[in-house]
């Protein structure tokens, strides 16, 4: 069996739903290999077509009835037990955050508002689209965790088979410091450049407008006025704040070395980098801020978000740079050799003390055995840790 044949076979087997593939993909791969010519490099057209039709037939036969599907998707009702594997495929599958629908609703709302309002559609749409990306990413991650607890967890008394979803203690997930520090510096830099551009180029801002025939400044309206030199004044203020941020960063640099040299080992922790969805969300946020800065420079929006972003960047960027450089000097490793967690850096900076030990967290996961006949899922016991036990 060549590697390319196996890749081709696995590709066509994707026509079957994941629940089927978990059970049959390996043996089906064997049958496909046995049926193919000895030197075949890919699955033949007839075999591929057969897999496609048969796979979709399995999907069709295994689908829940329409009213169950609507109740699940639109109202968040639980499915009967016989469709739990279907729900598991839905929750664990790609694009779960999008299937939840809220992100698509945000896009639709943005389109409606952009069409009905005045001004540039792109500028109106940008924050809605960015928000939709972030919502889809968060719901795909947090929502999936919550959905496992709601829809998939086995009830007490059910047989405990491999693949059953049960609550169990898992290592506490933590974001890798390397990922967080580099993304933070990148995002703050982009936002800082956008905000600087907005402050330098802004044409209008919110200000006091005299009312005709009444004494000014005793009476006035709030309205849009020319920005004039306000942007330059704000730049100066931002520079002063950046000086404060640099002082903060210097303090952080003094305390951080000693503390990170004595970080405790964390046996109940899993350090990882978020997936591509997190990067896409960050890019979406950066694009939304840049779109607003552009709108402020073009005079379509009064100078408002630019100064707010400038304040945050001036205070936070120097500290973030210090953390990035310090983490890099450590090789992104804790003293025990484990990967450095962003939570540790944050704790050290905020408390100037050693971070506490992480404890396992209760999560709903697939039980992967071993199978013991007669073993059932137990309900919570008084003596339990914060998650229910899984064995009889």
């Amino acid at each position: 069996m060549t590697g390319s044949f196996e890749r081709s076979a696995r590709f066509w087997l994707r026509a079957y739903p994941p629940r089927w593939r978990r059970k049959h993909a390996e043996e089906a791969l064997g049958v496909l290999t046995d049926l193919a010519e000895p030197e075949a490099r890919r699955v033949g057209v007839r075999a591929a077509l057969g897999l496609l039709l048969a796979g979709w037939a399995v999907r069709w036969r295994g689908r829940p009835p329409l009213h169950r599907w609507l109740g699940y998707r639109a109202l968040g009702l639980r499915m009967p037990r016989e469709y739990r594997e279907w729900v598991a495929d839905d929750i664990e599958g790609h694009w779960y955050g999008l299937r939840q629908g809220n992100a698509l609703l945000m896009v639709a709302a943005g389109v409606v508002i952009a069409r009905s309002g005045e001004g540039s559609a792109a500028v109106v749409l940008a924050p809605w689209l960015s928000g939709a990306v972030v919502v889809a990413a968060v719901q795909g991650r947090r929502g999936r965790e919550m959905a496992r607890e709601k829809y998939l967890v086995a009830e007490p008394g059910e047989p405990l088979l491999p693949g059953t979803y049960v609550a169990m203690g898992v290592p506490r997930p933590r974001v890798a410091a390397r990922w967080a520090a580099s993304r933070l510096v990148g995002l703050l830099t982009v936002c800082g450049l956008a905000a600087t551009g907005a402050l330098l180029g802004a044409r209008v801002m919110v200000g006091a407008v005299p009312i005709a025939g009444k004494p000014y400044p005793a009476t006035f309206e709030v309205g849009v006025v020319p920005a004039g030199a306000t942007g330059l004044v704000l730049i100066g203020a931002a520079a002063a704040l950046a000086a404060v941020g640099t002082l903060l960063a210097a303090r952080v640099r003094r305390v951080i070395g000693g503390r990170t040299a004595r970080l405790p080992d964390q046996p109940d922790r899993e350090v990882r980098s978020p997936g591509w969805w997190a990067d896409v969300s960050l890019v979406a946020v950066a694009l939304a801020v840049s779109a607003d800065a552009w709108a402020e420079v073009a005079g379509r929006t009064p100078l408002l978000l630019g100064p707010a972003v400038a304040v945050v960047v001036a205070l936070a960027l120097p500290v973030a740079v210090v953390l990035l450089r310090h983490g890099g000097a450590l090789g992104w490793r804790a003293p025990g050799g484990a990967e450095l967690a962003w939570a540790d850096l944050r704790w050290v900076v905020r408390h100037d003390a050693a971070p506490p030990l992480d404890r396992p967290v209760g999560r709903v996961r697939r039980w992967d055995g071993p199978y013991v006949p007669g073993q059932v899922v137990l309900g919570p016991q008084r003596s339990d840790p914060p998650w229910p036990p899984v064995t009889a």
């Binding site: 043996e27 064997g30 496609l52």
Partner: protein, 106 residues
């Protein structure tokens, strides 16, 4: 029961077989007429399995390939027998219609 499902059920009569062995046995039983593809085979196995006519009979790894064996359930055996009886009765009637011994009954 379709002819293909019947053939798969027959192929599992004497002993448990894995996927590729079922394909070969069906080819032999049908006199070379029915060559099952993987998609068709697993569709049939799924349906026969959910009807309770066949069941898993363990798995083994041969040459790095996973082979899962299937076997007939008692219910499956009964279904194969009754389908065979139905086909035999049909054949008898067909011979009568077509003129009897000319087809080799005598």
């Amino acid at each position: 029961m379709t002819e293909q499902a019947y053939l798969v059920l027959l192929a599992l009569t004497d002993r448990p077989r894995h996927g590729y062995a079922i394909v070969q046995e069906v080819l032999a039983l049908s006199g070379g007429d029915v060559r099952l593809g993987a998609g068709t085979l697993y569709g049939l196995l799924d349906r026969l399995g959910s009807a309770g006519l066949i069941e898993d009979a363990g798995e083994e790894v041969v040459d790095g390939r996973l082979r899962r064996y299937y076997r007939q359930t008692p219910q499956g055996g009964a279904a194969a027998a009754s389908e065979t009886a139905r086909l035999a009765a049909l054949t008898r009637r067909a011979r009568r219609v077509l003129g009897g011994p000319a087809l080799g009954e005598a």
